[in-house]
């Protein structure tokens, strides 16, 4: 079994900007040559949670509505959401690809007060 670590840089335009990481995770897993194992996706910025969701504009907007409902103060709501959603996600790899479904994307959400360049680590383990 081997372990490979990759750093990926992504850009968010503004608060609540959602980045679909699915294709970059898939391409890094393919490049790694790992056929069976797991990939852990980790956001260095604690205010950029990583999770699975269908990457669809109305649903992403619903998620933002849900987040804003966590507190009457929007800054506090975003802080809560960052920890509820969490900044790491582990997905099994089968036949050289993460097992996410067609309507299940790996998404990073910007919850800082502004967008910026964000670093994502991929830890790919397997054989």
């Amino acid at each position: 079994m081997k372990t490979l670590i990759r750093e990926v840089s992504v850009k968010t335009e503004n608060t609540y900007y959602a980045v679909d990481l699915t294709s970059v995770v898939l391409s890094e897993v393919k490049k790694s040559g790992v056929k069976n194992g797991v990939v852990t996706v980790y956001s260095e910025d604690p205010m950029c949670p990583v999770f699975t969701i269908e990457y669809e504009p109305k649903l992403l907007s619903d998620l933002v509505t849900y987040i804003k409902g966590l507190s009457s103060d929007e800054n506090k709501a975003r802080l809560l959401a960052a920890t509820v959603l969490g900044t790491s996600l582990t997905v099994p790899i089968v036949d050289g690809a993460p097992v996410t479904a067609t309507f299940q994307q790996i998404v990073l959400l910007e919850l800082n007060s502004e967008g910026g360049s964000r670093k994502v680590y991929l830890v790919i383990q397997g054989e």
Binding site: M1, G37, T52, E54, K58, L59, D62, V84, L89, T90
Partner: protein
């Protein structure tokens, strides 16, 4: 020398708000892996289900309070936004320590949560076991 063992199984579900105990199926894969110590990651395919670990005696109550976590209406995404949001918030993955060929479960079981109004829906779940 550490190794990895990955296997997928399918369950048939119905819903909404029904919990399906998948502990035996996860334990069977852990057994097959022959890995003594490590971690087992349980992951459900799709964006409306979820994987949870709770006490069996709280499973029924949990199925009702899910409505408090995310209400069914008031969303823009057509039809099943509530199921998607629950799936994202609760998560489709669960990692458990594996010690001496046994999962550390405590007084709990592992459940797949069917959030949607389905009958006989096939749900795919993958377990990745890593360790030595």
């Amino acid at each position: 020398m550490s190794k990895v063992y990955v296997k997928t199984f399918i369950i048939k579900t119905y819903g909404p708000n029904k919990l399906f105990d998948i502990t035996d199926k996860v334990e069977k894969i852990v057994e097959e892996s022959r890995i003594e110590n490590g971690v087992a990651t349980v992951f459900s395919h799709g964006s409306t289900g979820a994987i949870v670990r709770i006490k069996p005696e709280q499973a029924e109550e949990y199925s009702y309070v899910l409505w408090d976590l995310v209400p069914i209406d008031g969303w823009q995404h057509p039809g099943n936004a509530y199921a998607h949001l629950r799936s994202t918030i609760i998560s489709t993955k669960l990692a458990l320590p594996l010690i001496g060929r046994k999962l550390v479960l405590g007084p709990a079981r592992i459940y797949f949560v069917e959030n949607q109004c389905y009958v006989a829906r096939e749900r795919r779940i993958t377990v990745a076991v890593e360790g030595e």
